[in-house]
């Protein structure tokens, strides 16, 4: 009968088969477990600890705290500096990340061609990334001096009055964004280049035979093909952009974001509260707010990019 015939079969395979199946199913988890254990210790624990501290008036030196409830969050959300910092962070982020990704894609596309001394050019774009942010900031602070800076000097030649880089809001953001871009464009370009190199050349040949020009091939073949990498680049630069710290901190010597907080970012605000004022409870509250903002923004960005590029793909297909 059918039942007696079927039953012995699993028994035959049983233990080797099960072990094999167990191996296939479970061992990947086992292999990635060390990362998550380390992450739990060094990542998750501080996150939870930060959450606890954010509800307290925390004295990190005596390791004691007084429970405050939502006071820290309330204070931060009512603080003018927080909202200015938020504005600045987004402004610097937009001024840096958007041109950065666009220019990086462009440079990557250029490097994807058959250039002479390819390796030289490819390594060349990475050089700024190797430089220390502090060194970059030092150089740029010389360039962006209000009175004796080189850039204002050059602008003088073409009849543009000196720009108050350290006083006006938008110019200070542009100056900081240019430091960020200088450092990260090459890095992102190389990642995008790697993705472009992986695109099968047949696609380009086919497109060329179909009569697609250079621009068309770029938009209809290259961009859709590098989509996962582009999303990665966009998300990492979003996270990095929202956590921007080194460049604005080094933009002047006091590192507190300017007299009117023209270039105070959220991470600087957090640092100044924690280390400047030794108010770790409040700093922890800011850290959590920053985390929520990044999470929300990362998801929004992800959704946007997906829509944008996938609609492109379906259109071309």
């Amino acid at each position: 009968m059918a039942t007696t015939e079927v039953e012995p079969r699993p028994a035959q395979y049983t233990w080797r088969d099960r072990l094999g199946r167990w191996d296939v199913k479970a061992s990947p988890y086992l292999y990635i477990a060390p990362f998550f254990i380390v992450f739990g210790l060094t990542g998750l624990f501080p996150i939870i600890y930060t959450a606890v501290i954010s509800f307290m008036d925390w004295d990190s030196i005596r390791n004691t705290g007084e429970f405050l409830g939502w006071d820290n969050f309330q204070y931060v959300l009512n603080d003018r500096q927080f909202w200015i910092a938020l504005r600045n962070t987004f402004s610097i982020f937009l001024l840096s990340s958007v041109p950065q990704v666009i220019i990086a894609t462009f440079i990557a596309a250029m490097l994807d061609h058959n250039l002479r001394a390819r390796t030289f050019w490819r390594m060349g774009v990475l050089v700024p990334y190797v430089m220390m942010p502090v060194a970059v900031a030092l150089i740029f602070s010389q360039l962006f001096g209000d009175t004796y800076g080189l850039i204002n000097h050059w602008l003088g030649y073409i009849g543009i009055g000196p720009i108050a880089w350290h006083i006006d809001v938008i110019p200070s953001h542009i100056a900081i964004a240019s430091m960020v871009n200088f450092r990260w464009i090459g890095y992102n370009a190389l990642i995008l280049l790697a993705a472009m190199q992986a695109i099968p050349r047949e696609l380009y040949e086919a497109a060329a035979i179909d009569g697609a020009g250079k621009a068309r091939r770029f938009f209809s073949v290259t961009l859709p093909q590098i989509r996962p990498t582009a999303i990665f680049v966009i998300i990492t630069s979003t996270i990095g952009g929202l956590q921007i710290f080194d460049e604005p901190r080094m933009f002047d010597t006091t590192g507190t974001g300017g007299p009117d907080k023209q270039w105070l970012t959220i991470t600087m605000y957090m640092y100044n509260t924690g280390w400047g004022q030794l108010n770790f409870g409040r700093a922890a509250a800011i850290a959590w707010l920053l985390f929520l903002i990044i999470l929300a923004f990362g998801l929004l960005n992800f959704w946007l990019t997906r829509r944008l590029i996938s609609s492109d793909t379906s259109g071309s297909k």
Binding site: G43, P46, Y49, T50, G145, F232, T253, T256, Q277, L299
Partner: protein
């Protein structure tokens, strides 16, 4: 196809989110993670004679050992080696941080859990914060050192219970640095004695001279409003906080507002509108954008280093409205150390007048011990760049003029930062004096 792609990208976002989470958590969670690593737990309790290893942590260039400077042979004396020769049982590990900010962060990270060096240098800027934890530091009071330091130096390091938590190293008594050729152009006296006489008086007199200079030349008289404010506010007693209750009185204290008004009335013409330590400020030292600067001894090196081609910088033995101090440090002994007694000995030896005079010869850190001013190494010191100004005797006069500073409590730096920001806003032109003050006032009201 599109399903697996979605899965992949989803995993990517999840990964990115976790990454974000880690960073957001870490950047504020750093303080818990740091563990003690540099403690000198190597030796037994410090009875004399037994071998002891001490760690000494400083910052900038206190002038103790040649290793502080990049070039060899800059320093005449090696105080660390000298102490080890005098005390063969002691081995000193010298740990120097480049900047005061790094040292401050390290100090407050490890003050609670332990892990500080046996002897830690602290700076006058963070003294009000350190004072809140004075019970975690050793009392350095002793009979032999009772009158070692300037009165103001001892007062600033004595806590509410009368414990002396810091052994004074150097001080920053302020004089007025000026450029003689610029004074001459403006028709003012240009020799040090003449300038000292000219500026002898209160701040109103200083600003009167400044107005005269600016009217004559159309240029700034002093470098920045914030620099002058530092001098003015340190003379106020009380300043921002009430000594007994610790309450913030900055907004009720008419003196603070009066000083602010007096200064902001003078700045439009008389300030060069630079932020101290900005590149433009440095450039202004040689460009003649300003003619004077309030300068403590350590500022001399800053000026000579940044305006090496100018020949007319000089120092006048004067300070408006009395004296002023900018900078200076103490050596403290954290109670958590393994060799507290030996550490105290080292701290007190290093801050003795003889040693501090040598440190001055090494690195120009001006002693806080009046006895050191008699030492030829200090008394006969002149500065070539400043036209052979007799800095040894000159700063001894300025140090004597410094009064113990007013009570500085928990909120001193936040309040001072708010007001300095306010002044810088006026300087930059983002606000006028009144609205800028209002912004600062609302920040100060939010404190506490």
């Amino acid at each position: 196809m599109s399903f697996t792609r979605r899965k992949k990208t989803l995993a990517l976002t999840a990964g990115a989110a976790i990454f974000a989470l880690t960073i957001a958590g870490c950047s504020s969670g750093d303080d818990e993670e740091t563990t003690s690593s540099s403690t000198a737990e190597t030796s037994e309790d410090g009875g004399s004679g037994e071998p002891v290893t001490l760690t000494l942590a400083t910052f900038n260039t206190p002038g103790y050992q040649d290793s502080e400077t990049p070039d060899e042979g800059d320093y005449q004396y090696d105080l660390i080696q000298e102490y080890m020769d005098l005390n063969p049982n002691v081995t000193i590990t010298y740990d120097r941080k480049a900047e005061s900010g790094d040292a401050r962060e390290n100090f407050f990270t490890k003050l609670g859990p332990g892990g500080l060096a046996d002897v830690e240098m602290i700076e006058v800027d963070w003294m009000p914060e350190v004072m809140q934890y004075s019970d975690l530091l050793e009392d350095l009071t002793s009979d032999e050192t009772a009158d070692r330091w300037l009165e103001s130096k001892t007062a600033d390091a004595t806590d509410a219970d009368g414990r002396l938590i810091g052994a004074g190293t150097d001080v920053g008594p302020e004089a007025v640095c000026y450029r003689s050729s610029l004074f001459e152009e403006a028709g003012l006296p240009s020799d040090p004695e003449g300038v000292a006489e000219l500026l002898d008086g209160d701040w109103a007199n200083f600003f009167e001279v400044g107005q005269e200079y600016s009217d004559a030349t159309g240029k700034g008289f002093f470098d920045s409003a914030a620099g002058i404010w530092q001098g003015m506010v340190n003379q106020l007693d009380p300043a921002y906080e009430d000594a007994d209750s610790g309450d913030i009185i900055a907004l009720d204290n008419a003196d603070v507002k009066a000083a602010y008004d007096q200064l902001t009335a003078a700045t439009p013409d008389q300030s060069a509108h630079y932020t101290q330590w900005s590149d433009d400020w440095y450039a202004g030292m040689s460009n003649g954008d300003y003619a004077t600067m309030l300068c403590p001894p350590w500022m001399l090196g800053v000026i000579s280093g940044n305006a090496p081609d100018t020949t007319d910088w000089n120092i006048a033995n004067v300070f408006p409205n009395g004296g002023g101090n900018w900078g200076g440090s103490w050596l403290t002994v954290p109670s958590s150390g393994a060799n507290v007694e030996e550490a105290k000995k080292l701290a007190l030896w290093l801050t003795a007048p003889e040693q501090q005079a040598k440190a001055f010869a090494n690195a120009g850190t001006y002693p806080s011990q009046p006895a050191a001013y008699e030492d030829p190494a200090v008394a006969d010191a002149t500065n070539e760049f400043f036209n052979d100004a007799p800095i040894g005797t000159l700063f001894a006069d300025r140090a004597a003029a410094v009064a113990p500073s007013a009570f500085k409590g928990e909120y001193y730096f936040q309040i001072n930062t708010s007001i300095t920001d306010a002044l810088n806003r006026v300087e930059g032109g983002t606000d006028d004096a009144a609205t800028s003050w209002d912004k600062a006032a609302s920040e100060i009201q939010g404190l506490g």
